[in-house]
Amino acid sequence: MSLAVAFQKLSKNFGPVRVLHEVSFELAPGRVTGLLGENGAGKSTLMKILSGYETATEGGFAIDGRPQRFTSSREAEREGVVLIHQEFNLADDLSIAQNIFLGHERRKGWLLDDRAMNAAAQDVLRQVGLDAAPTTRVRELIVAEKQLVEIAKALSRKARLLVMDEPTATLTPTETERLFALIAQLRAQGVSIIYISHKLDEVERITDEVVVMRDGRFITRRPTAELSRHDMANLMVGRELSDLFPPKAPAPAAPPLLQVRGFTVPGWAQDVSFEVRPGEILGFAGLVGAGRTELFEGLLGLRPASGGEVAVAGRTLRLRNPRDAADEGITYLSEDRKGKGLHVNFGLRQNLTLMNLKRYARPVLSPTREHAALVQAVEDFGIRTGNLQQKASALSGGNQQKLALARVLQPQPRVVVLDEPTRGVDVGAKRDIYFLIQRLVQTGQAVIVISSELVELIGLCHRVAVMRAGHLTATLEDDMLTEENLIAHATGTR
């Protein structure tokens, strides 16, 4: 059942850029291995080669001692190697069951055996703990549920080696716990697991050993028990990391920059009121489905809102669409990077300047000035890219996130709403983003951070608003701002 992998001097080029340099290491069968590295360290590419989505330029790998070279994910799956994507590869208009069996449909003669597939899908859904009918269309699911469907899909393929790329990025603590139980169960059954995550506490908890990569090279392989989280972070970055969060400067006493009164988004948020002052970082905590994202989409005119008042710098306004909001100095970074955040088929430059194109067009666009802005953003945000002419889809997930962040800050907003700003971002880049947010508020901007990482909210925010089932249940600050309190308010146990 178990399966051993050995990488042998594996190299990979994208055009002229070498992204993997003679990577060699072995994975013991039947264990959980944490794969660590910063964004762009080559983890995802290595795993794509292992699971047949890419092929190596030189060198290769052996499975159970036999050299293998997969040219498609199907071949890899035949050997029992299954990759759960960091980004979803689901067909929105098909049902959950149809997605799970896509390309592996069960047949009864010439016809599809929907009944059998739905039953089997129901089975794996129960295992991953997703409470949804297999006939539900994927379009109707929220991001976290889509992640669970991806995991269910992998399970149904009878994996012997399961690669999970940031599986908990969108999951709530409860769902994460259920996933960990599932991992333990699979390990007991002899399934090898490679676990990629930037959440070092998770890596510490569930892995047997860790492999660290940096700049496309293998760095080390050690038993997890030997390492502290701090050691892991240092190994990833290759230098001593100082504090993750910048020191909190007290927010200046000033009249509120953004005031929201009694705002209602039907079906998602009821009668929500809050305000944020210049120089303040306001967090939004809550379980998935608590209505945080939907509240802000309503505020920006992306969803119909049925009541409430919005005032910017004391002036009551009506924001009909994100354009109005941007004109008033409010921008929003979506949590759904691929679907709402970035044009993955566009170039980096076109992506960066889209929100603020007027600055580069008077009235003729100046590619030179746009390019200069891109060079500046790559520098400021630490975007790692071999080539500035490439498409956004060629960037690694974390670097795409940095580009998306750079985009919403391009118009120099007075209030910026960041929905899961560090999702899929490595620890070094996370720190960069935190310090960047700190710089923003120091210049008098107000920042709203929606996040599912409680540590992040506590370390970064002046105040944190907690939402539960569409209602704003509490706003915590100072001594009250603890993980226990946040969880208690989010789940309604207090």
Partner: protein, 351 residues
């Protein structure tokens, strides 16, 4: 031809990008990749050159200046409309009504000019009035399309399929099923707009060139053009990036309407009449020009110069068929079909 700096053309930039998730590996040296990228971007041009060589071999008269100008002149209508269509398709939309719209505008222009000519006498003012009516009606019809599609939230295919019938039926009604004909005196006054020339090149060819250059410029060098591409690439992302999606879309349909207006104000003086067969199937020719020119029907990226080449290519095919008798006249449409598919094959993008 319109300026298209290599790095701003999204379609071409795509060819330089390394393979990404789900793609096949590309370990080939970049130079070959770049060359291939340029080559299949040039598919339509390549097709056109091959056709012209074939045309010259089949009939030496093909390569004469007169014939070239004839072909360009008759390409003008479809070419101008195709430039507008290119914007609509890049934005992810479609307009099936352009042929009927052209017919109705032509009919209205003729009716207005005849009425004005009767009351104020035939003069240049009447011609100017007719041209203005063409532009206004085009923009107005485009506005109606845009509003129905954005505010009314109806699929563009259905909206324009509806107006395709509506426009032509009204023309047929106004013409009583027959033809609307421009009064002789006005027709003589107006005819130089189609038949006249500057520096030996007919006016319609100049207008086509001007529209194409302006179109290429707007698409590649203005914020509006970038928004059109952003919406076609992913409307949701564009909306979240504070692009006023509705307004950009409405403008796109108005721009196409305006192009139809321009094409019509050149068309009316050619025959001085409009009938229910005017503009028949122009919509398919315009869409085919855009797609043959390398724009994806699903939107997101495209090229104006390719579109113009595509339009010329289509009229060259029928020109060559008319200049020779080697193929049964019953097979003309088949030859066009084959050539369109072959050119599309030459310029297909990598998956």
């Amino acid at each position: 031809m319109p300026q298209e700096p290599v790095d701003t053309s999204v379609g071409r930039a795509a060819d330089h990008a390394p393979a990404h998730a789900g793609g096949t590996s590309s370990s080939a040296p970049t130079r070959a990749t770049a060359l291939w990228g340029k080559l299949h971007g040039l598919g339509p041009v390549l097709g056109l050159v091959l056709l012209c060589v074939a045309g010259t071999l089949l009939n030496p008269d093909f390569a004469t200046l007169d014939n070239t100008l004839n072909v360009l002149q008759r390409t003008a209508f479809i070419g101008i409309i195709a430039v507008g269509m290119c914007f609509v398709i890049i934005s992810g939309g479609i307009d099936l009504s352009v042929g009927s719209m052209a017919a109705l505008i032509a009919g209205c222009v003729i009716m207005v000019m005849n009425a004005a000519g009767a009351s104020m006498g035939a003069g240049p003012a009447v011609v100017a009035l007719g041209m203005l009516v063409a532009l206004l009606l085009g923009a107005l019809f485009g506005l109606a399309h845009g509003l129905l599609i954005t505010k009314g939230r109806i699929e563009p295919f259905i909206v324009t399929l509806g107006t395709l019938g509506i426009f032509r039926a009204y023309l047929t009604y106004f013409a009583d099923g027959g033809a609307l004909t421009l009064d002789n005196a006005l027709a003589d006054l107006y005819s130089p707009v189609y038949y006249g020339s500057l520096l030996g090149v007919p006016f319609p060819v100049w207008v086509l060139a001007a529209v194409a250059v302006a179109g290429g410029f707007i698409l590649n060098r203005t914020a509006y053009g970038r928004y059109v591409q952003a919406i076609g690439s992913n409307e949701q992302v564009a909306r979240y990036a504070a692009v006023d999606v509705d307004r950009v879309k409405i403008t796109t349909y108005m721009l196409l309407g305006l192009c139809v207006g321009i094409a019509t104000l050149l068309y009316v003086p050619r025959l001085g009449s409009a009938s229910p067969t005017t503009g028949l199937l122009w919509e398919l020719e315009a869409i085919a020009s855009v797609i043959v020119g390398g724009t994806a029907l699903k939107g997101g990226a495209g090229s104006i110069s390719g579109t113009v080449v595509g339009a010329i290519l289509l009229s060259v095919i029928s020109n060559i068929l008319n200049l020779t008798s080697i193929i049964s006249v019953y097979l003309n449409a088949a030859v066009q079909g084959f050539v369109i598919i072959i050119v599309a094959f030459l310029q297909r993008g990598r998956r």
